[in-house]
Symmetry: C2
Subunit: 366 residues, 2 copies
């Protein structure tokens, strides 16, 4: 294709083809799935042309929506962010972010090295006004009416001081307003107990500041105080705030637990002849359940606090996982999410209308 994508109602997603544990096969596979169900999506695809061109040739429908942008290098999954920053220029990851910085795409997606992606995004897109530390937010399956809670930070930074935790609460609440369509999201601060005296001094201070903030007459969120790990999947709050270290460990622990139970479930239905018959009878219900607890279907960490939208897909994502991340990116692009969030955090003005489409669908499936 020759024309520049992104005109009129089209949303251009800038995709890093080379990141992730499964490489370009998963990424291009996910793009094909995504192209089939998200009308108006277009792609800038950054990576090794010798690898990507044959893949696109086999998928003419996808190729028609995609502009291949050859990039010679790539950022390794185990590279230190500081090293990547110095050497990443010209890599597929750098270029995928760069296209957003230049206004050629509305949103970037990468399955690559999270630390490097955040470092590059922070450098090229810069922090939004008033934000001292960006965060990565994820949608988490929960008992809430919307079907998800929002958890942040899940890995932008291993540390978070009191001021950062307060900013995460504000950004998370804005994401919940836009992403889940909630008027006054309920925010909780993750801790090892709900009692006032629990946790370290940063949590204590953030707790007091959030109580004060949420007590203001024009408060844009409700502060519910300390919450525990079990509340992440519950319906007592909509937004769970924590530092990137605990958030990352909680996220991966939950994914591991869901995977283990999924395996136990499959075993249970192979255990006896009766169970195998039952599995046939319950086929539809079990398939829906499997989808519901499949971590791949809620894939995509959103970088909050930058002047531009970036979605970090899980490094081990397969085509289904990548498609979920692309869907989230597409919806964010359509909603002009990053700009709205930055403006709102900066101004503290009341929300405008408009959410990221149907809340329950956000970030789910292809």
């Amino acid at each position: 294709m020759t024309e520049r994508p992104g005109t009129a109602s089209e949303i251009v997603v800038s995709v890093d083809a080379m990141g992730g544990d499964r490489g370009p096969v998963a990424v291009v596979g996910g793009m094909a799935k995504s192209a089939a169900v998200n009308p108006g999506i277009r792609f800038l695809l950054h990576g090794d042309a010798a690898v990507l061109e044959p893949m696109l040739r086999k998928r003419p429908a996808l190729a028609a929506l995609t502009e291949l942008r050859p990039a010679s290098g790539m950022v390794a999954m185990d590279e230190r962010p500081s090293h990547a920053l110095r050497h990443a220029r010209g890599t597929s990851m750098w270029n995928s972010i760069d296209a957003v910085a230049r206004g050629e795409a509305q949103v970037a997606v990468s399955c690559g090295n999270t630390g490097a992606l955040m470092a590059i995004a922070s450098l090229r897109l810069r922090r939004a006004e008033g934000i001292s530390r960006p965060a990565i937010a994820v949608l988490w399956p929960s008992r809430n009416a919307a079907g998800h809670n929002i958890v942040l930070d899940v890995g932008a930074d291993v540390r978070a001081d009191a001021a950062s935790l307060v900013q995460f609460a504000i950004m998370g609440a804005e994401y919940a307003r836009l992403g889940l369509g909630l008027e006054r999201p309920r925010v909780g601060l993750l801790n090892v107990g709900i009692e006032e005296h629990k946790g370290n001094s940063d949590r204590q201070e953030a707790h007091h500041r959030l109580n004060a903030l949420a007590g203001a007459p024009d408060a844009r969120f409700v502060y519910r105080g300390f919450v525990e790990g079990g509340d992440i999947t519950g319906n007592s709050v909509d937004v769970i705030v924590t530092d990137g270290f605990t958030g990352n460990i909680a996220l991966k622990t939950a994914e591991g637990t869901a995977k283990l139970i999924g395996e136990f479930l499959s075993e249970a239905f192979r255990a006896t002849p009766l169970a195998r018959i039952a599995a046939l009878f319950a086929y539809g219900s079990l398939r829906r359940l499997k989808k519901r607890i499949d971590p791949r279907r809620v894939n995509g960490g959103v970088f909050l606090g930058l002047n531009g939208a970036v979605v970090k897909s899980h490094g081990s994502a397969d085509a289904t996982g990548v498609a979920a991340a692309l869907k989230l990116a597409f919806r964010m692009g359509k909603a002009g999410f990053a700009g709205k969030l930055a403006a709102r955090v900066a101004s503290g003005q009341p929300a405008q209308n408009g959410t990221l489409g149907h809340p329950a669908g956000l970030g789910k499936g292809a």
Copy 2:
């Protein structure tokens, strides 16, 4: 009963009847379940005699195995540990630990305030030789042959410096040798990535020290380096070491995830008439699955690093959960676990034989 319990092959468990969210009903209910399946178990029961006496009268079989020790006060679930330490003398929690310190019981069990229990246990039982910080270890359902991994610390202390993390590794490995019957347990240090540069300086330093320790020719464990949240349920390591803050959050997040999926599962089998028929066919398999993912069935945090055995049951445990904690306590008492662990950590001598009975059964069910 008049005779002093704990003679010959009997194991005396000292039980705090008043702790926990559900109070004495759950505790005494759990004792009744436990008494029925653990021959040789006897109880010292500490708490409000006016409440407990009628309960025991209704259960003559249990009453015959139980010595009621009236205690006037109790430690509240939200009490600060420092406050509890000053005011706990004579409470049911204090007395339950005190009986172990006096040698009247082999092991104490409480569903109460974790911080207060640890503070009282540290004061009355004292830290074992060479231990700077005790830890709480739990058995975690996993893909391992033994059916469980061991995770510590899950909440004894919100902080852990490098030296403490190294001690947790040593204690966790000893617990795995005794509790899971593993000759050379594989130990991993929980982090936000497996790459060498990840995590804070304490993890970095602990990582280097553990590499050195495990490299010795007489090493009693294998060190597998950094692991992630997903490895807690996996089979790449047997022991996962972390600080009490992240350990507690991971534990509660996993419990919440298991609970949510269990609810989804029940819904799936009520969704359609066919699914309801299937549920009948798969009744046995589903029941076993439900048991397998039921967090109550693996209940009991073991305090490691003290001169005496203490099992902390989940605060929200019902009778089934309390029974699981009592079973774990019974097996620990039988194995003389606390003394052996203290001796081994202090001496660094090779292990003697003997494990806590059948590995896969440890801590499971009533």
